[in-house]
Symmetry: C2
């Protein structure tokens, strides 16, 4: 790894940012590609995003930014343009500088999640899916699952109204997908997705009742670290196939790299 005065910079902005694993993936890829570049963790509190963003955008050698919790929706009004998936999700996870100097955001959480499922051998098309958590990443995943052709999508969230609002938006965009809302009961679903932050911190509750899991179900988690969450441990114990946040992370990172003009990364 090499960082000189001519290094190009990339950053992930989040709070807390210590849990992200992007810097290790990107910097290893930069080293492998022999690039003079660095990918930095940048911790900014939710209330500081607008001021921090205005400042960061003045850095001439900053070529791209990845957004994580809690900034994926808050960054949207700060951008000059949004890609199609970001417009659907109302959230952004990757931002690049356009030739005209404006900043353009796109959302790869959902497509990255689906890419991770497929890399693990699970094709979502035709599946009955339950997704718990309808926040920034959850919105992107719901649209991507519907686009990938799940037969049905049940959405659940602890915040009143959030699941319903997302269900209505997904149903409007993908009329062929049977979208419903309700309790986080995994029984009867071929695919169970945790898109909540539960599992990020030690002692977090499990987002679905492990007693309602059964062999043959696919249980996928978005939590990047720890890679084995209590949900995935319980699902494995119940005979389910599990897909960790690592698979989603790698799918998303490759898509983000291509968007930033670095398609050689992750190859």
């Amino acid at each position: 790894m090499r960082i000189t005065g001519r290094a190009r910079l990339f950053a992930i902005i989040g709070d807390p940012v210590g849990v992200v694993r992007s810097p290790e993936w990107w910097n290893a890829e930069f080293a492998r590609a022999g690039m003079d570049a660095a990918f930095l963790p940048v911790e900014v509190a939710a209330g500081d995003l607008a001021v921090a963003w205005r400042g960061l955008m003045r850095i001439r050698n900053l070529d791209g930014v990845v957004l994580t919790m809690p900034h994926k929706q808050a960054v949207v009004p700060l951008l000059a343009a949004l890609g199609p998936m970001a417009r659907l999700a109302g959230a952004v996870n990757t931002v690049r500088r356009r030739a005209d100097g404006g900043w353009e955001g796109e959302m790869f959480d959902g497509e990255g999640f689906v890419a991770g499922l497929r890399a693990a051998g699970h094709e979502p098309a035709g599946m009955r899916a339950l997704q718990v958590g309808c926040g920034g990443a959850g919105r992107a995943i719901a649209f991507a699952l519907a686009r990938a052709g799940v037969a049905s999508l049940a959405l659940s969230d602890v915040a009143p109204g959030r699941a319903g609002a997302l269900a209505a938006a997904v149903a409007a965009a993908f009329p062929g997908c049977a979208v419903a809302t309700g309790l986080a009961d995994p029984a009867g679903h071929g695919l169970v997705v945790n898109a909540t932050p539960l599992g990020l911190r030690p002692g977090d509750a499990v987002p679905v009742d492990p007693g309602r899991l059964s062999p043959g179900q696919v249980v996928a988690d978005v939590i990047p670290k720890p890679e084995r969450t209590p949900l995935l441990d319980a699902a494995a114990a119940a005979g389910c196939d599990t897909v960790s946040g690592r698979a989603m992370f790698e799918g998303q990172a490759r898509l983000a790299a291509a968007f930033l003009g670095l398609a050689e990364l992750g190859g």
Copy 2:
């Protein structure tokens, strides 16, 4: 070298920033010390400093900033506190976060330059010195040379009035030093210092007439890259001892690291 989500960040802000060698020195030292930390080049135009600064200060894992041209004087009004050398020089090259959250600046260009002279075997005390260039770094070096006990200090600058203003300030702070202003004529001076940017870019003019150099003089340059400037080449050809910007850079980097609580670096 290791940069994870928990990395502590340090940056050098300048324009152009591609010429700085700090990232290589600091990142090699972080790697040697086994620290999860990175030192980044950050290119910000002069007119963008205030907005960029406000944003950068919201980054919770940013622990220190080094300033280079053209920001060393412009950053002063953006800080909560100044150290004693920064107050004398009216310029700052290193900024740290204080325990109360405010940012404190100090200036190590002058002390680093003197440390570099001494490391090269040249004790400035008692010398007759000529310094060309009275900008941000030049101000700091003039005060440091006077503090180190040069017998006399001749100051020269292309900007009318800048040499005179600095001469008056140095004479007031160090009444024992004979300070004068005038042409950039090196004849008769034991120590000749280039503190202008000349030599940074290919084709730059030489800041003093090489025909007026003679064997036994010490000629020191502040330009960090290229390490061998046309001035130093001409001085060596004239039989002078030369001290490159590398010596100043290493002296300054060690002092800045200690100020940032990283005294283990550069040891």
